[in-house]
């Protein structure tokens, strides 16, 4: 299978005043995400899941190690890497449609084309009628849909998602998970998903990587061989969930600082 | 104990009534004002230096030294002054516009101002050359403002053809020197100072603009005059004596002028020569002021002659001179 994202020997250290006091976030992370795969990272809070995504997105510096995307080394922000934030991060001064268009605007796509493409996403994502609304007028679920549209319209090679449904209530959360699966099934993007919700991970992913507390390592990578569409309450789903939870509990003997 | 009580009662009685008697027997302080470095007001300075006020029984306190006549009139309006040396134009305007209630009790001087242009690099040779130029005056409705407009009118010019701006006289010489203004008109000793500093020269003296024009007057607040007529008489008497002193002792007068203006001897000497110190009142002169101020629109009077009669009180001066 064609490799998509390759992370090798990743280390992240936050330097502090006293040299012995450096905060070491990652020890050595090695990970591979294959093309078209949905990989979720779960782990205890504060253990660097978000930092990992941010390093891939180019928002944080890598202390040592390599990140390669389709063989090319990643260095800084790259249009090939897209990211969806937990806080949506929509531009409040832009209406819905111009918010979706941003990625194309940056690429220099002329206005008419941008508009047309954005409208397609509006229709596909069930946002009709809201094109001229400001973000403050949209519900949480809608905002996240806009954020996802904004990311996907730029056609990134990998989509990072940092607890995108964390701010939503559980009902909306479920709806959004189904929405995401629907799109993903159609487009087959490569997705690197971060969450602390094990249920969500089991429901969505092809593979699940479990992280340890700091200094973070990958404890185990699970293959999720359940058929889609998935049943949240199936025996296999429950068994997997139990296994992951047990692993997390065990590792929490050494809680994060 | 009894002795203590008696002593306390006696003390209280003396304090209550004793000081009252004291207050009544001594003259009330007269709060006066004059214009900064205005050589026209030399008589006041002489009277202060030579103790004329004390001799005549007036307790004069210099409440303020102002930068222009309108400011003195505002102080009268606020009840801050009892008497003052001030220009006839600003005082007429203030009383006509019902801002202050003062009467003129004596003349202070005639003439003694000049219109000054730059000594070098100027092509202003006569009044008509002032067209389109900028001239500084000490304030609107000052004697100098009045003189300038009157002179322009006399030369057949419309007043709008000259840019008149307001500067305080201490700023005028500096402004002329660096070319911010093309000319200024001010009271002596500023024209003389501009001359001795080689910054300016007289384009026209006030003598040439309006011969014999009354300039500064000694005014008294009306209420103050009503309440303390004898004090006002004492002040006017001192003023008359001081004016005569200037004529008889010019050298000493110059010395006093140097002290109060802070300027050098050459300047003060020249300045004093350009001023005519006199206490003689001129009703005609005041009528001219009233007429022109009305024409300029600064004042609006229903009865100009009646106003002049009310504004000038010649009786006090007459009384003193007849003695």
């Amino acid at each position: 299978m064609a490799l998509s994202l390759e992370i090798s020997g990743l280390k992240k250290v936050y330097p502090s005043v006293a040299p012995d006091d450096n905060v070491q976030v990652f020890d050595r992370i090695d990970c591979i995400v294959e093309k078209g795969q949905f990989l979720t990272i779960v782990g205890p809070s504060g253990c660097g899941k978000t930092t990992l995504l941010r390093m891939i997105a180019g928002l944080e510096e890598v202390t040592s190690g390599e990140i390669r995307l389709d063989g090319e080394r990643l260095n800084g922000c790259n249009e090939k890497v897209g990211m969806v934030f937990q806080e949506y991060a929509l531009f409040p001064w832009r209406k819905l449609l111009p918010n979706i268009e941003v990625g194309l605007e940056i690429k220099g796509v002329p206005a008419k084309e941008r508009r047309a493409e954005a409208m397609e996403y509006v229709r596909a994502f069930g946002l009709e009628g809201f094109e001229n609304k400001y973000p403050k007028e949209l519900s949480g679920g809608m905002k996240q849909r806009v954020a996802i549209a904004r990311t996907l319209i730029a056609n990134p090679q990998i989509v990072l998602m940092d607890e995108p449904f964390g701010s939503l209530d559980s009902q909306t959360r479920n709806t959004m998970q189904n929405f995401l699966l629907k799109i993903w099934t159609e487009r087959k993007d490569t997705v690197l998903f971060v969450t602390h919700n094990v249920d969500e991970a089991v429901y969505l992913s092809d593979r699940i990587a479990v992280l340890s507390p700091r200094p973070t390592k990958i404890l185990k990578v699970f293959d999720v061989n359940l058929d889609r569409p998935r049943d949240r309450t199936s025996r296999e789903a429950n068994r997997l969930r139990r296994e992951i939870l047990a692993l997390l509990e065990h590792s929490e003997q050494y809680p994060c600082q | 104990m009894k002795r203590l009580m008696t002593a306390a009662m006696l003390f209280t009685l003396v304090a209550m009534f004793g000081t009252d008697t004291w207050a009544q027997s001594s003259a009330p302080p007269v709060r006066m004002a004059y214009l900064q470095s205005d050589i026209h007001h030399l008589a006041l300075w002489v009277a202060l230096e030579k103790g004329f006020f004390k001799v005549n029984g007036a307790d004069v306190e210099v409440k303020g030294v102002f930068k222009a006549g309108p400011e003195i009139m505002t102080a009268f309006a606020a009840g801050e002054l009892d008497m003052a040396y001030v220009g006839e134009a600003p005082s007429t305007t203030a009383v006509a516009n019902k801002a202050a209630k003062v009467v003129v009790v004596s003349q202070v001087n005639t003439e003694g101002s000049a219109l000054v242009v730059a000594k070098k690099k100027t092509n202003i040779k006569n009044l008509t050359d002032l067209q389109g130029k900028t001239v500084a005056v000490p304030g609107h409705s000052t004697v100098q403002d009045f003189l300038l407009r009157r002179a322009l009118r006399g030369s057949g010019m419309a007043l709008e053809q000259v840019n008149i701006i307001v500067l305080k006289p201490p700023e005028m010489i500096g402004a002329l020197r660096i070319g911010q203004v093309d000319a200024f008109i001010a009271w002596e000793p500023y024209p003389s100072k501009a001359d001795t500093m080689s910054v300016g020269r007289n384009l026209a003296t006030s003598k040439e603009m309006w011969p014999g024009h009354p300039c500064c007057v000694l005014v008294s607040d009306r209420g103050f005059l009503d309440r303390h007529p004898e004090t006002v008489v004492a002040v006017v008497k001192s003023h008359v004596q001081a004016t005569e002193y200037i004529h008889r002792n010019p050298e000493d007068a110059v010395k006093i002028g140097i002290k109060y203006t802070g300027m050098d001897e050459a300047t003060v000497r020249q300045a004093v020569q350009n001023v005519t110190y006199t206490y003689e009142l001129s009703l005609q002169g005041e009528k001219e002021y009233v007429q022109f101020l009305s024409e300029l629109g600064y004042i609006r009077l229903d009865n100009p002659d009646g106003f002049v009669d009310q504004f000038i009180n010649p009786d006090i001066l007459k009384g003193i001179l007849s003695q």
Binding site: A57, G58, L59, C77, N78, E79, V81, G82, M83, F85, E87, A89, F91, P92, W93, R94, V102, G103, E105, I106, K107, Y134, P135, K136, R150, T151, A154 | A68, P70, M73, T74, A77, P90, T93, A94, N97, K98, A99, A100, K101, T134, G139, H140, S141, T142, L159, E160, N163, I164, I165, V166, L167, A175, Q180, V181, L296, G297, Y298, I299
Partner: protein, 251 residues
């Protein structure tokens, strides 16, 4: 504007008129509202100094304020955005700004006259100083208050410096900039009168008008002039508030 808001000023006027008419407040200390109204008519018809009518004074004053204000906008907004964005620049400029800011614009008058001469230019300079600092500081705080995640979202979409500057920083700080602009024009308009005391060559300007009225002891015209200035200031503020509401609908 509801009727209730007009009530306090109307009541004040009535009380004032009553006190003046009954003689409690003497005419020469504070003219009655009726006298002030008459003074206003004089300013409109005859003018102060006579021949210099009110609407021309307003024209010149507004012109001066607009010049000073426009310059302040041109200088303060870009500088403010750069300062908000760059910590280095901020650390460099902040001591200088904090030293100059507390100096009242009026204290600059002697220097202004020295540099720009007597006239409209020095008045505009004083107004510029008054308006500059609120605009600058509000712009800086506007940029700094932009949620960093918005900038990160732009960076992740591969936005370059120019895009972030023009399409994120500027629109994001618009609410603060507008607040600064409103405060700036308020202060600028307020310094106008004193700025015009520096002397204005053409003999026009609301400050000049009031100064002349003072020389001629027309307190009714002084107060009428003050009211004109106050009303214009109110009008300007109302306009900017409207613009603010319109431009910042997304808040």
């Amino acid at each position: 504007m509801s009727w209730k808001r007009l009530l306090p000023p109307v009541v004040l006027l009535l009380v004032w008129q009553g006190l003046s008419a009954s003689g409690v407040i003497p005419e020469y200390k504070l003219p009655s509202p009726v006298a002030v109204a008459a003074g206003l008519l004089d300013l409109i018809r005859t003018g102060m100094p006579p021949g210099h009518r009110l609407h021309v004074h307003i024209y010149y004053s507004v012109q001066r304020v607009l010049w000073g204000y426009a310059l302040a906008l041109l200088a303060a907004i870009p500088l403010g955005i750069f300062m908000g964005w760059s910590r280095t620049l901020r650390n460099l400029m902040e001591p200088l700004v904090e030293m100059i800011r507390p100096v009242p614009p009026l204290a600059w008058i002697p220097l202004a006259i020295l540099w720009f001469g007597i006239g409209g230019k020095s008045a505009a300079f004083i107004i510029f100083l008054g308006a500059f600092f609120p605009i600058l500081l509000n712009t800086v705080s506007g940029v700094r208050s932009i949620d960093p995640v918005l900038i990160e979202a732009a960076r992740v979409l591969n936005a370059g410096r120019r895009f972030i500057f023009l399409k994120v920083l500027v629109p994001g700080s618009v609410p603060s900039i507008l607040t600064g602009m409103r405060i700036g024009i308020g202060i600028g308009w307020m310094t106008l009168v004193a700025a015009e005391f520096t002397g204005v060559k053409q003999g026009y300007g609301l400050g000049y008008m009031i100064m002349t009225a003072r020389d001629i002891q027309r307190s009714d015209e002084i107060i009428a002039g003050m009211m004109v200035i106050g009303l214009i200031g109110l009008g300007i503020d109302a306009c900017l508030r409207l613009a603010e509401q319109h431009l910042v609908k997304w808040r």
